[in-house]
């Protein structure tokens, strides 16, 4: 064992080829070392994976359900019509000016006038109670115009037309058939906002958990950090075990999250499909693609690295025995 070469600056960074070889060797060491340390504290590690997995699985599930729900809701057509209830002056005769106005609109495919008597007869028939109306003093029902709307139109068009007709002085009330669908869409939109807020909260919780875990690791290994710095370890070298730890936490937590997501979708999917089919929606299978799962796991792994970097950088700066600036 002999000393190194004379007359050579001791602080020179090695040449690029040497640096690359060294960098690769260091990473080999850190991968092995960080995995074995992960294994050594497996009970704690698993608990952290679980926290991360739940924090990732919940927003992912909400995201999957939201996407599928929107697709399903969009598949429900507003096939209905809009009914205009008329004031009492039109109980027997159709308001021709209004019918002409309605027909003039390109969105309208058909208009049918239903007199108050026809309405009552239809109600009697629908209720299947002959003679039910005989006891009534008069006909409480208004006459109506049932307007069929172009099926290609969306909910905004329905709302616009309803608003337009509600302004007519002969129209007492406007009813959009299948209004429940509009309400459902509003609910879906609300659920989406809620999911995003919840997801952001959960992910923040996961990141903070990981930051704490890494902080605890740094605290446990302070002596090692000092020794490594004395032996010539760069800040990057000293940070790397923790960055790898963050990566493993993210990777395993993310993989576990995808397992949860698949399990829950497998359990919930059939029930949701059957519910949707009741409402005439397209039965789609709740699913998350392998590609999406892969990218989510990559994202959680990189998120782990970022969280670890966030945790370790200030600690390393405070720990490393860096020299004080020269005075005078």
């Amino acid at each position: 064992m002999s000393s190194s070469k004379p007359n050579q600056s001791l602080a020179v960074k090695p040449k690029r080829q040497k640096v690359l070889k060294a960098w690769f060797a260091q990473h080999q060491f850190h991968v092995k070392d960080s995995l074995s340390r992960h294994w050594a504290v497996k009970r704690n590690a698993i608990a952290t994976w679980l926290v991360i997995s739940v924090a990732v699985a919940l927003p992912t599930l909400l995201g999957v359900v939201d996407t599928q729900l929107r697709a399903i809701v969009d598949s429900f057509q507003l096939r209905g019509s809009i009914t205009l209830f008329l004031d009492d002056s039109y109980q027997e005769t159709a308001p021709s000016h209004l019918i002409d106005d309605v027909r003039a609109l390109s969105e309208v495919t058909d208009v049918v006038y239903v007199s108050a008597d026809e309405g009552l007869a239809a109600l009697e028939s629908a209720l299947n109670q002959p003679g039910l109306v005989d006891g009534l003093q008069g006909n409480p029902l208004p006459a109506a115009l049932v307007i069929s709307i172009d099926e290609s139109l969306g909910e905004q068009d329905y709302l616009r037309l309803a608003d337009h007709w509600s302004l007519d002085s002969n129209v007492v009330e406007v009813a959009i058939d299948a209004e429940w669908l509009l309400t459902l869409k509003q609910w879906v939109s609300l659920i989406r906002t809620f999911s995003m807020a919840l997801g952001a909260l959960l992910l923040t919780g996961a990141v903070l958990t990981l930051v704490n875990v890494i902080n605890a690791m740094v605290a446990r290994r302070e002596q090692e950090l000092e020794v490594v710095a004395l032996l010539g370890g760069t800040e990057a070298f000293n940070a790397r075990p923790f960055l790898y730890a963050g990566f493993w936490y993210g990777l395993f937590g993310g993989a576990l999250a995808m397992i949860w997501v698949q399990l829950v979708l497998a359990l919930v999917g059939p029930n949701l499909s059957s519910l949707i089919s009741h409402y005439g929606g397209a039965t789609t299978l709740l699913d998350i693609s392998a590609q999406t799962s892969f990218w989510l796991i990559i994202a959680t792994s990189l998120g782990g690295v970022v969280a670890a970097k966030f945790a370790v950088t200030p600690r390393l700066k405070a720990l490393l025995p860096g020299p004080a600036p020269v005075r005078g």
Partner: protein, 227 residues
């Protein structure tokens, strides 16, 4: 190899650890730094290891003024300095092998080479058969040998040791110093801080005595005065 030019180190609130110190150590030389506690031995070593920067003066190591080294080059510089400490500073969650291998991983040595060099270093200090042991189960003397193997494994140009025999009994201390002499004979420049005058009197090498941050030089035998 190492040159101190009018080096001073003052700690707040105005304690002078070193005062206008001049010292030159040649390549391959073995130097014992002696002096009482607070004489400035450890400060001098810290300055070489760049754990501290001097308040005044210049320190040349291997032809380079290390005061001028920017922070990002310090790790590469430290890889050329082996350091042995009184408290060994071994990692007790790693084996002896892993402790000795640490400087090699830091330097990015390939795994095959790491195995060879660690075993050679352990063989040199007579602990090859304990490579799988945890340092915590070793005796203090053995722990210090592991520390020396770790300091030497990366073939440093300079080895510094701060009170390496501080925790050892006289017999072990003598063995340790003999080991340093052997390592020095292989060409490594060595600077060993110790207050054990009787021990270093038995060794070869140059003695440099520090007192109150300055070097004392003998005017006549047994008579020291400040330079």
């Amino acid at each position: 190899m190492i040159r101190f030019e009018r080096v001073a180190k003052r700690y707040p609130p105005g304690v002078d650890a070193l005062r206008a110190l001049d010292l030159e150590i040649d390549r391959g030389e073995l130097v014992f730094l002696t002096g009482h506690s607070g004489a400035g031995k450890s400060t001098l070593l810290k300055l070489i290891l760049l754990l501290e920067r001097p308040t005044a003066g210049r320190i040349w190591v291997g032809g380079e003024n290390i005061n001028q080294l920017p922070d990002h080059r310090i790790p590469y510089y430290r890889r050329h300095i082996g350091a042995v400490f009184q408290d060994h500073r071994l990692l007790t969650d790693r084996t002896v092998f892993d402790n000795v291998a640490l400087p090699l991983w830091v330097a990015g040595v390939s795994p095959n080479e790491v195995g060879k060099r660690v075993r050679a270093a352990l063989d040199l200090v007579g602990l090859l058969e304990r490579e799988k042991a945890n340092p915590a189960v070793l005796s203090s003397g053995q722990q210090q040998r592991v520390g020396i193997a770790r300091a030497m494994v990366n073939k440093p140009s300079i080895l510094i040791a701060d009170e390496p025999t501080g925790n050892l009994d006289p017999a072990l201390s003598y063995d340790m110093m003999s080991l340093f002499e052997r390592l020095n004979a292989m060409g490594t420049t060595m600077l060993i801080a110790t207050h054990e005058q009787s021990l270093i009197d038995q060794m070869g090498g140059r003695k440099v005595e520090l007192a109150r941050g300055k070097i004392m030089q003998p005017v006549t035998e047994g008579d020291f005065s400040y330079v």
